[in-house]
């Protein structure tokens, strides 16, 4: 799977980091999402989908590859 994040839309709530800390992080100054792994391994698919579902700002897009 491929993950795309939209920094403009992000509101820095950190739902993604709580759901998949190995894939998402947040910038220290403004809380905006940092994508650690744009192509997470298959085992992380469920956690990444959970992060996209929980994201309040629709800032995470998951593309199946």
């Amino acid at each position: 799977m491929k993950v795309i994040v939209d920094e403009e839309r992000c509101v820095g709530g950190g739902q993604c980091v709580a759901a998949a800390p190995d894939v998402f992080d947040q910038r220290d100054d403004d809380g905006v999402v940092v994508l650690l792994d744009p192509a997470p391994p298959h085992e992380r698919a469920a956690a990444v989908r959970e992060a996209a579902m929980l994201c309040p700002a629709a800032a995470i897009v998951v593309v199946d590859t």
């Binding site: 509101v11 820095g12 709530g13 739902q15 309040p56």
Partner: protein, 393 residues
């Protein structure tokens, strides 16, 4: 069928359940036309998917002054006071939110875990020393969120007791008059206002100091500080007090947690879903918007019932059952969209630490009065709550 104002009355003897009419309204139409008390023709959203869709759509504004109120006869609201970022729209909202968000990241909140543990241990020690019985509200639900916010904002230790007293008088006590509450808030604003120039001159490791590094005025920082207090104190205290009440009136659920404290994380999510924090959120359409086949016209107010959406059987099976083992993630108690609670990870931290501490310290915890004698806030309150929770062990 048009709904006539937002139903508020809770079912007899079940003070934690939403008004029963909401389930009927949701079954008929998850987005229903509603006549507001001032005569406005707007909408009521009771379905989970529909609530999420409205909350995620920035063509709806959160500004107070645009909204018609779905209950009571308070007239219209003035615009948000300085610092209240929950009722402003982008781009102003984005600017403030980014300034604050760095202080609330998952990583920053994890750094507060140790302090939350220490504070909780201290409060539970004091509770054990003076009881049984004890009032869980004054022993834990009120002071823990207050002390954690003092920690976050950087209120000096010597001033915390007075700070707490004012915060309590402002919002949590049953017998405060509106004048008392107003005075207490005025005192708190004054207190935070006095702190800002001190932190600007000699910054320490805390949120107020961080904010002075940017281009905000002292007034703006004071406003944000007061708003954070208002947003984080009463809400977390309310979920903690009502959450313990819910567990003690569902003893089989409490027993599950006692047997496996590993369930506490999930239990906190489930309590948030089950309890909700208030009767509704409000949004007003800035242009015509179609949601789930319903055309909402520019200028119409949409009332989003989180209590109804959190109990939508299409999203949460058997929704009226409190079940600490269910996956309750995605509930709308912290709302959804760009205004989703910025303090949610702090709130979760406090709730988890408090529940784990209570279970370990008082495994035989029980109500010291009949459930019906626990005084609940009246149904017009825009944040749910209870005033006292007498417990024994």
């Amino acid at each position: 069928m048009t709904v006539n104002g937002l139903p508020l009355a809770r079912p007899e003897g079940r003070p934690l359940d939403p008004p029963p009419e909401l389930a009927e309204i949701r079954a008929r139409a998850p987005i229903s036309p509603m006549t507001y008390p001032d005569g406005h023709e707007g909408w009521l959203v009771t379905g989970y998917a529909q609530a999420r869709a409205v909350l995620a759509d920035n063509r709806f504004s959160a500004r107070y002054e645009l909204a018609h109120l779905p209950y009571g006869d308070f007239g219209r609201l003035p615009p948000a006071p300085a610092g209240d970022i929950s009722a402003i729209d982008p781009p102003e909202h984005t600017r403030y939110r980014r300034l604050l968000a760095g202080a609330f990241t998952v990583r920053r909140m994890a750094l507060l875990a140790e302090r939350a543990e220490e504070i909780t241990v201290g409060l539970l020690d004091a509770m054990a020393g003076q009881g049984p019985p004890a009032d869980l509200v004054t022993a834990l639900a009120q002071p823990l969120p207050g002390l954690m916010i003092c920690e976050l904002l950087g209120v000096p230790a010597a001033e915390r007791e007075g700070f707490q007293r004012h915060a309590a008088a402002g919002i949590l006590d049953a017998d405060v008059t509106p004048e008392d509450a107003y005075r207490a808030w005025a005192a708190l604003s004054e207190h935070i206002g006095a702190l800002v120039p001190i932190k600007r001159a000699a910054p320490t490791e805390d949120l107020i100091s961080d904010l002075t590094a940017g281009d905000l005025t002292d007034e703006e920082i004071t406003g944000l500080g007061v708003f954070l207090l208002g947003a984080g104190l009463d809400t977390t205290g309310s979920v903690l007090a009502r959450g313990v009440f819910a567990l003690l009136t569902h003893p089989e659920q409490f027993a599950l947690l006692r047997a496996d404290p590993g369930l506490v994380e999930g239990a906190v999510e489930e309590l948030l879903r089950y309890l909700s924090i208030g009767p509704c959120g409000l949004r007003t359409a800035l242009e015509d918007v179609e949601v789930d086949g319903v055309l909402i016209r520019a200028g119409q107010t949409v009332t989003i019932s989180q209590p109804a959406a959190n109990r939508d059987p299409a999203r949460f099976p058997d929704p009226d059952a409190l079940d600490v083992r269910r996956d309750a993630a995605g509930h709308l108690t912290f709302t959804h969209g760009i205004h989703q609670c910025l303090g949610q990870h702090l709130a979760r931290l406090e709730l988890r630490v408090a529940l784990r501490g209570l279970i370990a310290r008082f495994p035989t915890l029980r109500l010291a009065v009949e459930p019906g004698d626990v005084p609940m806030r009246d149904e017009y309150a825009n944040v749910y709550g209870l005033y006292r929770l007498p417990v024994a062990w």
